[in-house]
Symmetry: C2
Subunit: 260 residues, 2 copies
């Protein structure tokens, strides 16, 4: 049971909306004042800002306070968290419940119902702190999944960061073609499926790509290989090789829909 939820933010209008919707009990723009009495702090800021926010929170909270985050890159954030909390009170987390909307108006009581809430402890992370954060996750209906931060960053480079990179590059390429602005008028299926992803926030994604640089570039290399192989099969008119690759892609998709 949580006695009081304090909302700390930069935008008075968002804070006020969150309070009026009943998402938080009190609000403040002052981080130090907001976290001073906290038993658990959840950092939900863009990933690029989390290392600085962890350090700032560490200097303000009491000695028993547990701190967690919801960022989509884990190794660099965990390193910053361990440095700020050498006694292991920082728990690196990533609930998988994103939507393209943001802000308090996008809140939903069932957002985490059935979602995976990933925790990536380091050898330093305190087991008690882990359990506290896991309790928060299960209380809102999520399933707690533990993995190493390195594996987390590889997995999300694959299923999230690479697809975003591909979608951004594709939209960019379409307009870079000759008379690209006329071509996009005829976009029906196909290109349209990429638009939600390519509409994501550029600042947020710059931070994710730069913070998860090595894993993202590794899976990008695998993707470039499969793309080149498919292109070669098309160029040489090798219909059997083309269809073998398309069938494998379709199977991968079915495997994915089946497993999730």
């Amino acid at each position: 049971v949580v006695a009081e939820v304090v909302g700390v933010g930069r935008t008075p209008a968002s804070l006020e909306l969150a309070r009026r919707c009943g998402l938080v009990d009190v609000v403040t723009e002052d981080v130090t004042a907001g976290v001073r009495e906290a038993e658990l702090v959840v950092l939900a800021v863009p990933v690029g800002g989390i290392p600085a926010a962890v350090a700032r929170v560490a200097s303000a909270v009491g000695p028993g306070c547990i701190v967690t985050d919801v960022g989509s890159v884990k190794e660099p954030i965990l390193a910053a968290g361990d440095a700020a909390f050498p006694d292991g009170r920082f728990v690196a987390g990533h609930p998988i419940a994103g939507m393209e909307m943001s802000g308090p108006a996008a809140a939903r009581a069932d957002l985490f119902q059935g979602a995976n809430w990933i925790l990536t402890p380091s050898p330093r992370t305190a087991r008690g702190a882990m359990h506290q954060v896991a309790s928060l996750g299960t209380a809102v209906g999520a399933r707690i999944v533990e993995m190493t931060p390195a594996w987390h960053d590889d997995v999300f480079a694959t299923v999230s960061h690479l697809p975003h990179l591909v979608a951004f590059a594709l939209m960019d390429a379409v307009l870079a073609t000759e008379r690209g602005d006329e071509r996009v008028r005829y976009a029906a299926g196909g290109l349209r499926d990429f638009t939600r992803v390519a509409g994501s926030d550029p600042e947020m994604w710059r931070d994710i790509f730069l913070m998860n640089r090595a894993p993202t570039l590794r899976v990008l290399a695998v993707y470039q290989d499969t793309l080149n192989a498919l292109a070669t099969a098309i160029r040489t008119g090798d219909g059997d090789a083309v269809i073998a690759r398309l069938r494998r892609a379709k199977r991968a998709r079915e495997e994915m829909l089946h497993r999730t």
Copy 2:
């Protein structure tokens, strides 16, 4: 006003369903018998089969019959159509109203309402035949758009064929990573947006890629350039270059949503 619609197909069950739904008046598996008395033949078969179907229909129809198609590649089909009908009675067409479903059960009375129905005449195409096919399109609520077959194939290589190529290669790459089958379990947004596209029929897409080979490989080269430039910006940690490209992609997407 159409007096009678004859459904010609290979699958008795589909033909019977189409007849019972009222999509066609009579059905047959015999192409020659089905088209013999026709005034207008609409070829709706996978693109790879259209050149052969055009030739077969040409040998069966009467001297006044007009023939059109709905394939998503136009230059090679128009060449086959002009060869089969030297007097210009073949009209190459492409109504943009695709869905991922197929067969008579996916029929909808409003499918073409407000859709672009592209016609790509050659110098040989008879204007009277063009008008007949355009009347069919406008009768079902479509907007007729005329363009050259070469421009059509460039446009659809860009807004449809390349996005499918990219989605197929991405799904293939995901499973090609180490422990890829475990990674896909965590697919939330991002990868999921690509799954409809990558679930498309492999045979159909092999034919499209091979028939529209040159335009598809041309836009693929543009895409590979933008992808490489974005990857280089990430690799060198050039945040300004990354965000400039992501913003341009987001603008391209907004331009697309605005124009269509």
